[in-house]
Symmetry: C2
Subunit: 209 residues, 2 copies
DNA sequence: TGACACCGGATAGTGCCACTCTCCACCATG
DNA sequence: CATGGTGGAGAGTGGCACTATCCGGTGTCA
């Protein structure tokens, strides 16, 4: 198909598609002449991926470029998969040292991670920011958070293991992680409401009794 | 203290503080003369809150203004607290209708939420985006996600109930929700790694046997 | 064959937003 | 009295995703 049809099918303006081509997040089509190229279903899929990452994942085009680059050359073995995925998932720049309390907590959980891992510094910074803003985020709460995220991570790993080939597993891990975050955030809001109203109902029942 | 000392204590440039004053996210100090004002510890706290929300919460100044406005006039009763908090927490604009599968899932969980709630549409859009990007996000996985987030939400509600006064509870809910998101995201990454390596170890052990 | 829209490619411009700088009159402090 | 910080307002900066303009070439239909 031509670029105009690609635009029509994806709902993305032609200008933006050209921009994506220039930025290297959309591979060029098979050139049929000097001034026209042929795009296939894989381009439609790619455009949808890019849009989802940008709009819902909050990923910049630099991050998208890294992700699609990794998806195009997936690691051969399942073992490196998670490392390769972690290397490609955009993470906030580290802002400060990690509180020893955090590393202690992770050790206690048996989550031995290489000190300096992006997710570790991100955790340290996020906890420090929350506390600086006045949230009483104690170790007990963090442990409960960790328990909840373990449930989530089990589901994540199962989803990745269900993939047929390494390329699909890679896509599931990377894209599922990035686009799964907003899903989890929304579920957290809904769960807060549900838990709160359940507690309220229980309190009312006690009051009536 | 004067604005320069406020800048020094918070590490935020004077120009930025003036900007925050203009944008209404930082209340003016007590004027001691026509060209000088006095700032207190509450200003230091507020600046730290604003920085945390902007830098780590990814909240824009418009959202920060809404949040600090709500924190200054907290609801009197605990009952409205969650509603008031939900109204103030920035949510992505709804992009499309919610898949009936999602609403069915929530009903099944007993999370009866007003159709059209921001968190509900956000969930629908996030799931739709993930699926459009090729992530096989099935209902079973969503159920597991919901289970994990229930654990998180229980911790959230307990944290809010531990607050002394409604104002502190409000701050804990709103700020804890916004700044808790990056904490959870980081924990998810670490949990994925931990779960994956645990599974790997188990598989190796089976192989050796 | 010729008109014409469309194609690719490159350059420049837009809008948003958080921040930063400039300028000014004024006052506190040495 | 001189200096420099202060409050206040406007304009400028930089990053980034996108959008518009322009160009020569080309497929297509009359």
């Amino acid at each position: 198909m031509r670029i105009s049809e690609l635009a029509e099918r994806t709902g993305v303006p032609v200008h933006t598609l050209k921009f994506y081509l220039r930025e290297g997040v959309l591979p060029p089509g098979r050139a049929t002449s000097r001034t026209s190229a042929d795009y296939g279903d894989e381009h439609v899929e790619r455009v949808r991926l890019v849009r989802a990452l940008v709009e819902h994942g909050g990923v910049g085009l630099r991050g998208v470029r890294a992700i699609v680059g990794a998806l195009e050359s997936p690691p051969p073995s399942r073992h490196d998969l998670l490392g390769a995925a972690a290397a490609v998932i955009p993470t906030p720049a580290p802002r400060g040292p990690v509180d020893p309390e955090i590393t202690g907590l992770l050790e206690e959980l048996g989550w031995c991670t290489w000190s300096g891992a992006p997710a570790l510094t991100a955790l340290g910074d996020a906890v420090a920011a929350a506390r600086a803003a006045g949230v009483p985020l104690d170790a007990a709460t963090l442990r409960r958070y960790a328990a909840g995220m373990t449930v989530v991570a089990e589901a994540d790993v199962d989803l990745a293991l269900a993939a047929q080939d390494p390329a699909e597993a890679m896509r599931t891990v990377v894209v599922g992680t990035v686009l799964g975050d907003p899903v989890l955030v929304a579920l957290r809001r809904l769960a807060q409401e549900a838990v709160s109203s359940r507690r309220q109902a229980a309190a009312d029942a006690r009051e009536d009794a």
